[in-house]
Symmetry: C2
Subunit: 74 residues, 2 copies
Amino acid sequence: MVGKDYTSIQKQFGDNLQKIRHNKGLSLRALAANCEIDDSKISKIENGKFNIKLSTIIELAKGLEVKPADLLDF
Amino acid sequence: MVGKDYTSIQKQFGDNLQKIRHNKGLSLRALAANCEIDDSKISKIENGKFNIKLSTIIELAKGLEVKPADLLDF
DNA sequence: AAATCTGCGGTCACATAAGACCGCTATTTA
DNA sequence: TAAATAGCGGTCTTATGTGACCGCAGATTT
């Protein structure tokens, strides 16, 4: 373990992402189709397994049709 | 060039970051001291040279005393 | 029962952010 | 005029996110 642990933030982000996706009534594969991100990866993100990059946040927001800032509103 | 190009989004993020930093009257080194991120790296981020991770967005927000979402509000 | 959908876990090569440095050029100030 | 201060560019190693896959269990639909 070299750096700090960010799994808590990753989980918060993931929970928020999943909540928004459910609100939009989208399945993992449906969202995946909208944003060119593999569905298994979105699953991992929702479960707090990744410290994703800015570009991925942008893509997810696009696929969900929300503002990028909304994904960080938690 | 393997993936998409996100420099435009990186630049927008960087501009926004710099604007907020200036609003707070902080120098690169002052902000760096607040968030444990090297000042030269913050400079590069502000100039759109990095596709930073979620954890870095969180750290910058902490150092600037703003909400993470504010950094994506552009 | 069979087909489909949904969420999720794992693999592997590759690209790149992170982290910790150094040092230069201006500009400001003591 | 010397010394901080501010912005920025470059280097090197290491850690890890990305992208593209595969396959499975459980629920739902036909």
